[in-house]
Amino acid sequence: MSTWNRTEMAARLAADIPEGWYVNLGIGMPTTVADHVPLEREVIFHSENGVLGMGPVPEKGQEDPWLINAGKQVVTLRPGGSYVHQADSFAIIRGEHLDLCVLGAFEVAENGDVANWATSENDTAPAVGGAMDLAAGAKRLWVMMEHTTKDGRSKLVHRCGYPLTAIGAVKRVYTNLAVLDVMESGFSVVEMAPGVTRDALQAATDAALSFPN
């Protein structure tokens, strides 16, 4: 069974972002989606630490330590970009002004619940950052993650077992095996990676899948 690698996952997701959208990309894998949106397709990337209109990674020697993203990596500002303070940055997020947020996750449930900030109720040092604001506040939430954990457990589940980030928030999931919409009826498969069969996908997934196409 062939699967999408992380670069292919990022490119697949990026292809679904139309010009004109305001988008927040979560820390880690989602951040790489920006590399696959060409500058001439004007998508405006927001970072919760107050940057609207992030550009590409700076060239060597051009890094500015005052200009970072939420993952604390140095970034650039493209022409037309602006800076805001944290409360205004989260007004952008919480006031439903972002067209899209892409987050990583530990689990997504078929009812759209998402768990991405703590792996147990007794996590030694929990840290939520902006995840709950983004999940509750963006117009649409997509999740980008591996389909299963390293030890092979499905991350698409009937109900989340880990502490929730938000309830009923996820609209679409991009994994290394498939793209799936979260519908009233549960996960609905939009597309599968080349060579992945329906049976193999269902076998790798705890939640029941539907295949409308």
Partner: protein
């Protein structure tokens, strides 16, 4: 003549008492008023509540303040990060109280404090354990959680430029929590990289007007002894 510029750290931090609630600007290291933080360490105030997005890294700055046992309680959104060793040690040992707040709720609670708003409802954290025990109401067809304003006794802020009235600009993503914290404390103390003459800052470009600022001290230039 109004002159909020102070010349010594003692004058900058005068009046910060044991038990104070300290709002500390910065997102990670960017925009964090490190020099004022060193002054606070030197001052010796203890039993502090610190409100900051992160809980320090290494053994300097905020991490050192905690390591010295001066912080009783920390309110933040993302305490755990690469190098947050002091936080993790103290938290595991039960020597530090932690209140985790979603980052936007944290910012908004301080905006509310600065704007005289006592509390607000927000959809963020509905149905999660961070909403446990909090009042939830359906407003506009959405479940929302009640959150209270978060006031500081003192705010420590890093600005880029300041004038003697306390008008401030910031540098790029260094603005972050600084501008909202400046509004939310009884005493706002600023370390500025550049002190400029009154009237030279473009009124359209001033981010924090001086009404929110009590004291300004010029930070030492890189390589300069403090």
């Amino acid at each position: 003549m109004i002159d909020k510029i102070v010349r010594s750290m003692a004058d900058a931090l005068d009046g910060i008492k044991d038990g104070s609630v300290v709002l500390l600007g910065g997102f990670g290291a960017v925009g964090q008023p490190d020099w004022l933080l060193d002054g606070l360490i030197e001052l010796g105030a203890k039993d502090l509540t610190v409100v900051a997005n992160n809980a320090g890294t290494g053994r300097v700055g905020l991490a050192r303040l905690m390591d010295l046992g001066r912080v009783r309680r920390i309110v933040c959104s993302f305490p755990r990060s690469a190098g947050s060793v002091v936080f993790e040690e103290l938290y595991k040992a039960g020597k530090l109280e932690l209140e985790i707040v979603p980052q936007g709720t944290l910012a908004e609670r301080m905006r509310a404090a600065g704007a005289g708003v006592g509390a607000f409802f927000t959809p963020t954290s509905v149905g999660t354990k961070l909403a446990a025990g909090k009042e939830v109401r359906e407003i506009g067809g959405k479940l929302q959680v009640l959150e209270y304003a978060l006031h500081g006794d003192v705010a420590l802020v890093e600005a880029w430029q300041a004038d003697r009235w306390g008008n401030l600009t910031y540098n790029k993503s260094g603005r972050n929590f600084n501008a909202v914290m400046a509004t939310a404390a009884k005493l706002t103390v600023v370390q500025a990289h550049h002190i400029v003459p009154l009237g030279t800052l473009d009124p359209e470009a001033i981010v924090t007007p001086g009404i929110f600022v009590n004291r300004v001290i010029e930070a030492p230039k890189p390589g300069e002894a403090a």
